[in-house]
């Protein structure tokens, strides 16, 4: 089982994600420069956070046109689990692997803070270790994270269970003050229709060691563990 961690010019959470997968979870992960990505040799991929191509024009849009995305699209169609974190989410949105849009935060400022994220779809490939309603503490750090989708699309996301994560308050409610960027319905992460491609704005890799968590939590590990488990299950099939 092998996980690709894809690096674009400007990706900056690649080494962090690698550290958590490789050193903390002992998974077979590999950092791979976007030009060299061949998904035939990988069973799963993570697009980590950062500022691919400096967020020029729009976060994620330039990377979305790179040949690596052709590889990832194919892998997605083959059912391989693909996770986009922060800028990775933006890239998946811009390349059409995930639905909707990510707009500039309504505060018009970059925001870095720890938030509560509620698991909406505990049965997804990335949440098998969590249950519906589980609250995960994770930090966000982004400029363009305001999730947006229009009427029909939004309705179908809800209906198909494609909304995977929402920002919530301490009481678990998706309230206005707990929404850090103005996302519609407090959406923090979504999946594709098939459920094997997921993107989220919060950073699970920064929430995977108790030493670095203000709450001594390791909630981010649930997402990575779920992913690794799903890969295993898929491989056995």
């Amino acid at each position: 089982m092998k996980v690709a961690i894809v690096q674009f010019p400007g990706t900056n959470c690649d080494r962090d994600t690698y550290y958590i997968l490789k050193d903390v979870l002992q998974a077979d992960a590999e950092l791979i420069w976007h030009e060299d990505l061949g998904m035939d040799t990988f069973d799963s991929a993570v697009i980590p956070g950062g500022f691919s191509y400096g967020d020029n024009l729009r976060a994620g849009v330039i990377a979305a046109h790179s040949p690596a995305l052709r590889q990832l699209r194919k892998a997605g169609q083959d059912g391989k689990p693909i996770l986009g974190i922060c800028n990775g989410f933006q890239i998946l949105i811009e390349s059409g692997l995930l639905p909707g849009a990510l707009l500039r935060n309504s505060s018009l400022r970059f925001v870095c803070r720890w938030v509560n994220v509620r698991v909406e779809a505990g049965n997804s490939l990335f949440t098998t270790f969590s249950r519906n309603g589980t609250i995960l503490k994770m930090p966000i750090a982004h400029n363009e994270g305001r999730y947006y989708a229009e009427g029909d699309l939004l309705a179908s996301l809800e209906m198909n269970g494609q909304i995977i994560f929402k920002y919530v308050d301490e009481g678990g409610q998706p309230s206005k003050p707990s929404n850090p960027n103005g996302s519609i319905l407090n959406i923090a992460g979504v999946s594709n229709y098939e459920g094997n491609v997921v993107g989220l704005m919060p950073h699970p890799e920064r929430a995977s060691e108790s030493l670095l968590s203000p709450f001594r939590t390791t909630d981010g590990l649930q997402i990575f563990r779920s992913m690794l488990r799903s890969v295993e299950v898929l491989l056995k099939r």
Binding site: P9, G10, N12, Y19, G49, G54, R109, F110, N143, R206
Partner: protein, 734 residues
Amino acid sequence: MAQKMIFSLTSNELLAIKDGMKREPNDVELSIFDAQWAEHCSYKSSRSLLSLLPTRGKRVILGPGYDAGVLDIDNNQIVTIHIESHNHPSAIDPYGGAATGVGGVLRDILSVGTRPIAILDSLRFGDIEKSPQSRWLFKNVVRGIADYGNCVGVPTVGGEVEFDESYERNCLVDVVCLGLGRRKEVVLAEASHPGDILILVGGRTGRDGIHGSSFASRDLASGSDERSAVQIPDPLTKKLIVEATLKAHSGGYVRGLKDLGGGGLACALSEIADKGGTGLDVDLSRIHVREDGMSPAEILISESQERMLFVVKDELKDDVSAVFRRYHVQYSIIGKVTSSRRLVIRVNETKVADVPVDLVAHAPLQLWPSKRPEYLDLGVSIEKPPLPRNISETIIRVISSPNLASKKWVYEQFDYEVGLHTVLKPGDSGASVLRITDDKFIAISLDGRPNHCYRNPRQGAMGTVAEAARNTISVGAEPIALVDHLQFGNPGNPEVFWTLTESVKGIADYCRFFDLPCVGGKVSFYNEDVDTKRAIKPTPVIAVLGLLKGARHIRSRKLTPNGRMIVLIGQTENELGGSEYYRYIHGMSGGMPPNLDFHRERGAQRLVADAVRVGLLDAIDDCSSGGLIATISKMCIAGGIGAHIQLEKILSDCKRWDDLIFSESHSRFVVTLDPDKYQGLANIAKNHQIPYSLIGNVEGDKLVLTNNGDEIFSEGVHTLEKTSNDKIPSIMGH
């Protein structure tokens, strides 16, 4: 079209150049001298003073004089540190100026072969409550730092912000960067092997920033069109340069490395040749330029961002080049190292400059007269301000003043997490704590106390170091080194020069007494209003770096559960000169500033360090700006829990409640502990002969002050937090 050259060289300097050259220099040569002999590059006004600072220590591998200080933190690991300012560029283009300031200090850390792992920023502006200009500067400076640091993926983990009228026309934007590397991988800014190849890497050379370094060394012309000084940030290119440089370096390809900062290529070339004891032969026609028709002088002094100079072995140049190509980083092979001890510049075959390295690299010292300012004596004995009638309102106003209010609005714009190092984050404590390994940490605190320095520059500077050191001790670390940044007006003004001299002596005194080496620094002059000639308050800014072993020793200011005792270490004196209380509530700058007694300070620091080591203490914070009340309220807010403080228990000879709670006396800490451990603390305090008093308890959800049983203040911690958090957003509009 080439711009006309404007030189800032003095007539004495011109004479020295002619003497040294034994002929008339040409314009290209003059432009090299002009760039290298600018204050910014040569330190001609401050060099002799800076030599007062102790720079050696058991952990110091490289001290001042290199791009960054290098410290041994055991097991072959090193930490590097440097501080830079970008005051003048930020004043005219706050966004680009601040951003490129971050870019500059990152390059310094990279230049010694280490990966940048953290940024801190220290910012000073005029009164944002009154001045739209200062709000505009503040907003754009913060955004500039954020956009740059966030994009290159180096976390901004802490800093400070201060607002004071004296910075209305001269904002200060200081950035500290820390790096991490391996001891055997330190690389120097030297070209020491004749035959090696010089490669210029990174962005194209254009006309930006031409005269930037001589510009930084002149007064800031208000309203003038200093377009040429504008530097455009390009963090994406920087990120690629960082990765390419570290990759090339880890391949063992790099023999010397130098960033291009103030003074551009001219300064970089003369410095690497001087340090290496060699000469250089450079062909400007090889350089990748952005604009046509640049003159040789313009190419030499251009301050285009995102460039590095590599010195590599001839036979490795193809391997290195391959690394740059992989990261889409542009490069040109521009020349080679010679043994001539001359800096020879050509355009194709034509020699356009030929100067002796020794001459250009060593600007003649500039000596300035010095005179003690009169205002110092006038302001000492002042009448006490009237006692405020409304205690609650006064306390709330002070602790939510822009200087003391939460800086969440600032640090939430910074990615302070990337890199997985940040254990104590902005807002958690006075110092930030970074993980190096799972049981080795570094702590860093960045502080400036210009209002104390204004009253007494020597005491103020010493106190600034002490405060930064106490902040690192408060999180459980041991201070191992500092860097300083000296920001003053025009050194030609004898009063300014006197305050500079005193400040340096203060820092040096502290370093010597505490055996704390100064491993780097920076000087910024001409921070004065061109029209009124009024200088900023003397502003030495200090970053103290601490080392911490064992995660269990990490402490923060977060108050811990009900029932803990609150102890104030040290004695509260009637010292309110230069205090935030006097400034903000009474508009006063006079009075006696806090006095630093080295023996007492050392005792208090050791007491806390010892108590942490044996596990006696829970929350810790040092007591400084805003006094005891500001410290306690920050501790309550950080912990989300209340406290009861009994003023009559505080050891002090202050007669008035306001003096007592707002005094900024040094050598004090607020600590909390389990009542069972009180005796242990008492024993340690006795060893160090340091006074302490049990002043209250952690309890409830309010901060309550009583005086002999009478409640004089009571406010919910949530309300305090909200008031503190809302202050800056409400001033900034949203």
